[in-house]
Amino acid sequence: MSNGSDILDTFDGQSGESKFDPKLEARQLWGKVFAAFCIFATSLGLIVLAFLIFEVVKDGSSRLNWDLFQLYPSRRPLESGYRAAVLGSVAMLSYVLLLVIPLGVCSAIYLEEYAKKNWLSELIELNIYNLAGIPSIIYGLLGLGLFVRGMYSGRAVLVTGILTITLLILPPVIVISREAIRAVPQSVRQASYGVGATKWQTIRHHVLPAALPGILTAVIISTSRGIGETAPIVVLGAGTVLFDPKFSPINFGALFSGNIGNVFADTLWSNDNFFSVLPYQIYEWVGDPKPEFQVLASAGIVVLLLLVLGMNLIAIFLRSRAK
């Protein structure tokens, strides 16, 4: 505080003028430069994104027609399309949602509502945080070692892809769902307990409905990331596929004709249900030297961006509605 006297020394009490120079003009100028830089930085990413979208639409527009969804991959670029890949992505999206919603929400409920403060819940919590930071390609190696080599003796089938992507997006789903559950006011729970509801009744009828928009946002954003993932699928060993993936978990034809032995033949689980997904097929064609394949890749990117950014926009809309 002794420094304060320095400023007083510069003050000439006789003339009423201060020798202290606030350098206001220069500081205001720097302020404006800094503000301009911040605005520039905020918009730069969006400019890059806009440029990216412009470029891929420009490059891929000649192939953006219905044929793109009708044709299988081929060596001739003009006869190639994304049919198998799009169907593979749709199948993966549905089954991943089916797995990740119950698993993610249940884990989040356990950690927020049930877990006591002990070593076990701390271990799980720390573990989920670390899992969320592991690169996706490591999950690919996990899937390769555990599911492809372990369960299907080296065959990269749809099930292995679904399980790998589910494990990959589970940690972020849990982390964001927990935030949504935590945001439900304590008074809601107390009111429910006050009228005699059990813990599960409270969660089921009051906490979950209140947290639903937040949980849905978590699920949609994370799943959109999972659908756009290429690296783990590459590591699993997916390849170019010339047929539709099998969706059905049970062979209904066999079930209804009483042929119980073949109930799982030709289904999701069969070991010849090889698959491809949209981002993987794009990666294959990006690497092809023929320029027509680059056009095809651009068209595929437009479709992928529509899917992924569309899901993100839905999530943003849900989140803004919730507040």
Binding site: L131, I174, V235, I282, V286, I301
Partner: protein, 320 residues
């Protein structure tokens, strides 16, 4: 439940229901615990898969060569990574070098831009504008990385090659620049939270002394939020190190020891993607090398995440 019909006293009815409810309640508790435990099993599985293959890899290649390179018969020192060639060498540093160079370029882009974005969102933007802008900026992290890779290769590299002589078709520079754009939301988002957690009284004190908005932001808010910002930057580095598709597509697949960003490099992740795509035989040394590189990558990102978590823990304690 049928006995409650025979004995319609309200007390016993309540008792039966409560017993029934208690069993169901604890069953639900255990079911939920099981779900949460899946994540622990995932970690165990990851460590097991990586470790078992890595151990058999080091049965065939020496750990000394992996970490320090080897001296050839003619006395020259060599450090190269070529498990898939006939003349195999197993020195991991060329791939680490590629990873670190691309990550460094990405962080040079993402750190100032991400921080400036965070300053704008927390200090300048109106709450309404911030509410709209933040999710829009987070879209940048939602774009699939294969798209960024294609964009870096087909749009950024041609533009850069007009400006920079000697730029190769696959290069670390354009991959790093685009990766930087991808990481902006990671840094911006966490830093915004850290800056918003700085008490408003600190800002008011600075304004009271006659500071401009810029001075408040750079001399008061940024230093006060420093630990959160450091955590964000370290998490950004971890993202950059683990990113696969951008580097596999745009930076090339040739691990070399170089510091020239115009050159083709090969990162750890690109190596894994390249070899896994090539269908290597199980039990072969190139298949096991895949997991050894994966283990290295796993340990590096785990370390970065733990450091980031420790720093942000300290930051939470300061203001709560």
């Amino acid at each position: 439940m049928s006995s409650s019909v025979n004995n319609p006293q309200p007390d016993s009815l309540d008792l039966y229901q409560r017993a029934d409810r208690n069993i169901r309640e604890s069953a639900i508790g255990y079911a939920l615990l099981f779900c949460a435990f899946i994540s622990v099993l995932t970690t165990i599985a990851i460590v097991y898969v990586l470790a078992s293959e890595t151990v058999s890899f080091f049965g065939k290649a020496s750990i000394g060569e992996f970490l320090f390179g080897k001296t050839l018969e003619n006395g020259t020192y060599s450090c190269s990574w070529t498990p898939q060639f006939a003349d195999k060498s197993f020195c991991v540093w060329p791939t680490v070098n590629g990873t670190l160079m691309v990550a460094a370029i990405a962080m040079v882009v993402a750190t100032p831009l991400g921080l400036a974005t965070a300053v704008y969102l927390s200090e300048y933007a109106s709450p309404k504008a911030g509410k709209i802008l933040r999710p829009v900026i987070e879209l940048l992290a939602g774009v699939p990385t294969v798209v960024y890779g294609y964009f870096a290769l087909s749009s950024i590299t041609p533009i850069l090659s007009k400006l920079i002589p000697g730029l190769q078709g696959f290069n670390a520079l354009s991959a790093g620049l685009i990766m930087g754009v991808m990481i902006i939301p990671t840094i911006a988002s966490i830093s915004t939270d850290a800056m918003r957690a700085v008490p408003i009284s600190l800002r008011e004190a600075a304004y009271g002394l006659g500071s401009t908005k810029k001075e408040v932001a750079t001399s008061v808010v940024l230093p006060a939020a420093l630990s959160g910002i450091c955590a964000a930057i370290i998490l950004g580095i971890s993202r950059a190190v683990g990113e696969t598709m951008i580097v596999a597509i745009a930076a090339g697949q040739r691990p070399v020891l170089t510091l020239d960003p115009r050159q083709t490099v090969g990162t750890m992740t690109a190596y894994i993607a390249q070899v896994a795509k090539g269908d290597s035989r199980v039990g072969s040394v190139e298949y096991e090398a895949l997991f050894a590189v994966g283990m290295t990558l796993f340990l590096i990102t785990l370390l970065l995440n733990i450091i980031s978590k420790q720093i942000s823990k300290r930051f939470q304690e300061t203001y709560e």
